[in-house]
Subunit: 141 residues, 2 copies
DNA sequence: AGATACTTGACTATTTTAGTCAGGTTTATA
DNA sequence: TATAAACCTGACTAAAATAGTCAAGTATCT
């Protein structure tokens, strides 16, 4: 049970971006250098973030990316959703009536994993980008 | 972020086992048939559970496995620990002072992942095998 | 003796992850 | 208007992790 680096990087890059709070576009090159993430990989990630309207791109010289919403309104859930980082605890298809073992009923542990999934998602629903930026600011002070 | 089938099967098998509540040893063959898990794979899993003293083995004809503690005392944490299903959200080494990017300080998201890890582990610490058995019994009534 | 069931360790196909690479297009600005 | 900075896209791949299988035992009850 572990987090992929795609999800990790997405959040890391957005926290970096959010600190500039829409004053100027931030280039991926800068993020790449500051956070130590491969530029090519960042491009993949930001392409997805843009499609889900979490960031906006500004082309040309001095271009880069800007948040498309207020940091307070961007929840971890939104970010993870954008980069396809999903929490998957059950094995079966959720909407199907069949269990993970191919049997007609759900397995002995289905409810448990479902509860776990909710538990984790609650955490993601509550945390916003703003929280993360604040948390980091306070740490430095 | 997903659960491995090793962890999933371990819990599933133990719930199956716990329902017999130490009356008779339960053979892996039976669990295999009832739960649709490969026998060879179950053997790997139970070997680990035995080493961590979660189950006891009974050899010979009519042998099998029995819980080594009360179902109430076996938490999900113990089970996951036994089969090496660990929650890993941070990238860096926890005890090191270095960050995941190789820099001298922890990255912008380190605290967040650490919180997440605690959040998930709390869930595992609270749930016992007894809870799971009860939950399943109630569902059937 | 024979059957049942545990025990161990090595091996492997498949899948997922974490990127890289190549070849674009767009646009600010000098 | 030339140029360079920066975005954009899709295909490709090495490495790691996962989810098992397979083979060859050993112990113990009846
Ligand atoms: S996880 Fe849904 S039926 Fe087993
Ligand atoms: S996760 Fe610990 S420093 Fe990045």
């Amino acid at each position: 049970m572990k987090l992929t680096s795609k999800g990790r990087y997405a959040v890391m890059a957005l926290v970096d971006l959010a600190r500039f709070n829409n004053i100027n576009p931030v280039s991926l090159r800068d993020i790449s250098l500051r956070q130590g993430i491969s530029l090519d990989y960042l491009e993949q990630i930001f392409s997805k973030l843009r499609k889900k309207e979490i960031v906006q791109s500004v082309r040309g010289t001095q271009g880069g990316y800007v948040l498309n919403k207020k940091a307070k309104e961007i929840k971890l859930t939104n970010i993870f959703d954008a980069v396809d980082e999903k929490v998957k605890t059950v094995q079966c298809k959720k909407d199907s009536k069949k269990g993970c073992n191919g049997k007609a009923t759900k397995c002995l542990t289905h409810n448990l994993w479902d509860e776990l999934e909710n538990h984790i998602n609650n955490f993601f629903d509550e945390k916003s980008l703003e929280d993360l930026v604040k948390d980091n600011f306070e740490r430095r002070v």
